[in-house]
Symmetry: C2
């Protein structure tokens, strides 16, 4: 029956209505939490100039970027491309509109990005990311680091995951520790080894450190450090006992103490019963973009989900576009990937997510007016209402109603005369008087 | 201070926060109206295969389409491109998921499309379109034509335009009239002349018709027909008096009568006091895609806005992708263009659209806990709340608050002790007890 292949491009998430409804529920719940925290929604063009998009890039980004052309151009001539994350357009937007924005600028973007990756499970070429960032003018108080994490905590409560663990650290600690040990020249190698420590055995990590030739005493100090994790009361004495007299380390320690103290206080509320927090020195976040607080979140009951959201503090948002110093802190939820994984774990219940609230089924054209009036009334109380206008038999109309809606109301002669309607729950079959419903 | 050009690409709409807030208010109001009418939101990938996108195309589309490439490909090799409207992806989606969808399939898409047009006033390369469509399986009752128009009427009520006039017709009338006059071979030329009739003088239209060499009597009949407009009670007798015995004409007349009768009835409600409707035979909608009901909407007080929304009935959604007969009816609001024009007419009041509802301003760090607790409470009653965490002077914090928020609450010693807060309207300066607010 089909003439040509009508599948979506590979690497794109195209959902049937019930799943789309469930996806949208999560997406708008997350955005709602971001806006509730006073973040300002901005929208940047999906197409941007390659000059902007590749100002910093290199490596994978350059390989994965989608260039955009019209006729008669080659890839080399393409001066426009699709954005691959929200950070670069945010930097461009902030610099471009610097004089009209109020700082700290709390920005959120919940939209699609594009990467020409090889499509694989949970990795999409076209995917939603939900970002929050606070950008300071010259400086930005540490209190915003907590604010970003609490904003993401409120967003995570929307997700159908039983428990969350937020793991937080501060990159100044390891940076300072290495300075104190005079190991600055190995900073990026050591960060890289620590960043991968959870994916390999402790022996492999120790061996990797020893192979740097930094001396076994230093290896012990670094591994001792990276194994420190727990609540504020546990970790602060342990970090102090490392006895690093280094200033960067001390600054990181004070910052981490501020953040973890405040997080423990605020997450104590009953609202956050599903969310736990701990400091964990093995968290360094790969990107050298981050310079202070770093965090990620896992699901203790579903470790395989990996990081649910992550982020951190950066020294300078837009150094490629301006000399103005714009420090910031931000975090991101990779929603398309997450949604894919949640589906695989059976945590998305799409059976209950019919896109329409109520289908009104007039038996014949004689009941159309009554049906439409009833629909208008239900819409005023914020219901999504379809009126089934096909000239099919009642049974067929009800089958249709059950596919798209959660409830149905049949409108026949009797109902038109009496003005009394019954509403049927299409999941349970239970029938109620409309007057008693909700 | 800037290092490289950070402007958005030309032809994209990049808005500052207050305008973005106003744009989003309209966009979500429109979507809300669509969902309230039982339309199902679907999301198709922004990137699609050129084979799909260009199956029907030709002319402008082929010239305007943005192709998408990775490295080392030329435009000719590009087999992916950005969608340029919602109709083609809707057709692909419907065919691809045919067996899992319930028909009539009421679909809505509110999202961005892309065209590599020369950017000019109100014409964007990256733009939002808000579409609704009902797609039938084999057939689709005429009642859905009214339903599409009523859905768009509810969406239009969101727009800051004082009055609307919906103009409706049916292409079967002119098609049938020409059949009856034995002028079928000039059908596309005559439709084209009528489609442009409102842009030129009556003399130019008459001359264009005369130049076809169809005889002056036929020219008079056609111009008489195209000048028929008004309410149902006026136009039906006039159309009947044309005395076309043609079956297509008769069918069009019956369909138009059904649609205009129902629209007049439903729009009589007080809710639609701003919306008027009339039948107008000059409306044919250029695209030969439409086969029955056609409509467009104008603002009588701002004729220059042009068509606010338009659409119609089509015989076959997806004939390029399937032999399955899928008739439909749909309509669309070109929101980016419309927003641009509304701004130019001063109809968008962005001064009142601060993105944040309440900025809470703690005087010092001592009040942070109280401020955060108050913020959480206000968020529970669905407010967008920022807590200002900068270490600036109170005056600077309040200046910041006034830039981002509609209301401010100062939290100092007294407030922490008493638990009583005052809230200030940052537009009017009026101060109220928070307990008495909303």
């Amino acid at each position: 029956m089909k003439k040509i292949n009508t599948s979506a491009i590979s690497g794109a998430q195209e959902l049937l209505p019930s799943l789309q409804t469930e996806f949208d529920r999560l997406k708008s719940g997350i955005l709602h939490a971001f806006l509730a925290h006073g973040f300002i929604k901005i929208e940047t063009p999906i197409i941007d100039r390659t000059e902007i998009l590749l100002a910093k890039a290199g490596g994978d980004t350059e390989k994965q970027i989608y260039k955009v052309i019209k006729t008669a151009e080659t890839a080399d001539q393409a001066n426009q491309a699709l954005r691959f994350d929200h950070t670069v357009p945010l930097a461009r937007y902030t610099v471009e509109h610097m004089n009209e924005l109020a700082f700290p600028f709390k920005a959120t973007q919940v939209a699609r990005n594009f990467r020409g990756e090889r499509p694989q499970k949970g990795r999409f070429r076209e995917f939603y990311q939900c970002d929050v960032d606070v950008i300071g003018w010259e400086k930005l108080p540490i209190a915003y680091d907590t604010e970003i994490i609490m904003t993401l905590a409120d967003a995570m409560l929307v997700l159908p995951i039983p428990r969350f663990l937020i793991r937080v650290s501060n990159r100044k600690l390891l940076t300072g520790l290495l300075e104190g040990l005079n190991l600055q020249q190995w900073t990026s190698e050591i960060f890289n080894i620590v960043d991968h420590a959870e994916k390999v055995s402790p022996e492999v990590t120790r061996e990797a450190l020893e192979n740097l030739g930094i001396g076994s005493e230093n290896v012990v100090k670094i591994t001792t450090f990276t194994q420190i994790r727990g609540k504020r009361a546990e970790i602060i004495p342990k970090l102090e006992s490392l006895g690093s007299q280094n200033e960067t380390f001390e600054q990181g320690l004070r910052e981490l103490e501020t953040v973890i103290t405040e997080l423990e206080n605020r997450l104590r509320s009953e609202t956050y019963a599903r969310i736990d927090v701990e400091a964990d020195m093995v968290i360094v976040r790969g990107l050298d973009y981050y310079t202070g607080t770093v965090f990620e979140t896992v699901a203790p009951d579903y470790r395989e989900i990996g990081s649910i959201c992550s982020g951190g503090r950066y020294a300078d948002l837009a150094r490629y576009y301006t000399d103005q110093h714009l420090p910031g802190v931000g975090g991101s939820i990779g929603l398309s990937r997450l949604f894919y994984i949640l589906r695989n774990y059976g945590l998305i219940n799409n059976a209950q997510s019919k896109p329409v609230d109520v289908a009104i089924v007039p038996i014949s054209e004689n009941e159309y007016t009554t049906a439409q009036e009833l629909a208008e009334k239900l819409r005023r109380s914020d219901k999504k209402v379809d009126v089934v206008l096909t000239d099919k038999r009642l049974g067929d109309k009800l089958t249709y109603a059950a596919k798209i809606a959660n409830f149905a109301i049949i409108v026949g002669d009797d109902e038109v005369r009496s003005g009394n309607f019954k509403i049927k729950n299409l999941q349970t079959g239970k029938v109620t008087d409309l007057a008693d419903w909700q």
